[in-house]
Amino acid sequence: MPWQHITLMSLALPVLAEPMLFELQIKDHLFHPSVLYVPAGEKIKLLVLNQDPSPEEFESFSLNREKVILGNSKATLFIGPLQPGRYQFFGEYNPDSAQGVLIALPEAQWQQHRADNAN
């Protein structure tokens, strides 16, 4: 069996676990929230809701993602698993105003963050 065949076979295996869902809104060319906490080490699903009538592009070099979200529309991004740290993102159509940061927390800090927000 050629090596390319083996490589592609291993790359084609689907991921079955459903990733944790997070939501980000765009309104008046701003991201809400502008700081988003997520768990490190696991894939997440990010639903971006654009409430402006004009399109916006979620872009982040450190996250290796870019995605156009049409006006009054939504898009889903799949991110990670991430190393703990800060990942800047911005709106390519309105880079001066639409800015945010995604913070990936290690397990213990993530559990603490969830507990704090549950109270």
Partner: protein
């Protein structure tokens, strides 16, 4: 959507088996390594150049250029139209053909363990009534700050001065996303009478909002005796 990985595995396996066999293609092999992504509302003007060098090799001094205009036609599909100019010694440099290209993004980036797309290209050679149809799979997989991109392509040629035949091409690129403007990579190309690999460098510079310039430069060297020694590849893409 979960049917995709299984189906794609079968198709990609078949294509890669083709690549590993004997190939008789007549076209150029060193070209862009395609990523499987399409952005809605994208528009671009693209220029590509390649030049091959080895004294006493039939492909010595061969040069090719492509000028393209691309635009998305749906959230997951983009079209690009190219003018192609070539110089194949001993002939003069000339406008040699036209090409229509469709890229189709099959899966959302990061949704599965790898991201998948498809490529369809139809090229007509000027004044010769020769055609070339290319199709295949585009795959990209993230490994931390690096990305592996694979293109497994099947090519069918036919026309007045060509024997009708199927061929296969394989392109690979392993890229380190160091910083937006500078991303080093290594590339591998396998196709008709060609097996080459070498370093490449690429990047993107943003001007304003969605206006940006992407650039790529690669020097591909032969890894067998039949392949022309050195191929220079250069590309510029202005997105707006």
């Amino acid at each position: 959507m979960r049917l995709f990985p299984s189906l794609l595995y079968i198709v990609s396996g078949a294509l890669t088996l083709l690549v590993s066999g004997h190939s008789l293609a007549d076209g150029r092999v060193v070209d862009k390594v395609y990523h499987p992504y399409v952005q809605a509302l994208e528009r671009s003007i693209e220029y590509r150049y390649f030049y091959q060098r080895q004294a006493d090799h039939p492909d010595n001094n061969t040069m090719g250029q492509k000028l393209g205009y691309g635009f998305s036609v749906a959230e997951r599909a983009a079209l690009e139209i190219y003018l192609i100019a070539d110089r194949v010694s001993p002939e003069d440099y000339k406008l040699s053909g036209y090409e229509l290209e469709l890229r189709w993004m099959l899966t959302e980036q990061g949704q599965y363990s790898a991201d998948w797309g498809m490529l369809f290209e139809l090229e007509r050679q000027n004044n010769q009534d020769n055609y070339e149809f290319t199709t295949g799979l585009l795959m990209e997989k993230e490994f931390g700050p690096t990305s592996l991109t694979l293109n497994a392509l099947a090519v069918y040629e036919w026309g007045k001065t060509l024997n009708s035949e199927w061929e296969a091409e394989f392109r690979a690129q392993y890229r380190y996303r160091w910083r937006p403007a500078i991303q080093p990579a290594i590339e591998l190309y396998v196709g008709e009478n060609y097996k080459g690999a070498g370093p490449s460098l690429m990047g993107v510079h943003k001007f304003d909002k969605q206006k940006q310039l992407k650039w790529e430069l690669a020097v591909i060297m032969a890894i067998d005796n039949d392949t022309v020694d050195r191929t220079l590849r250069f590309a510029l893409e202005y997105e707006f």
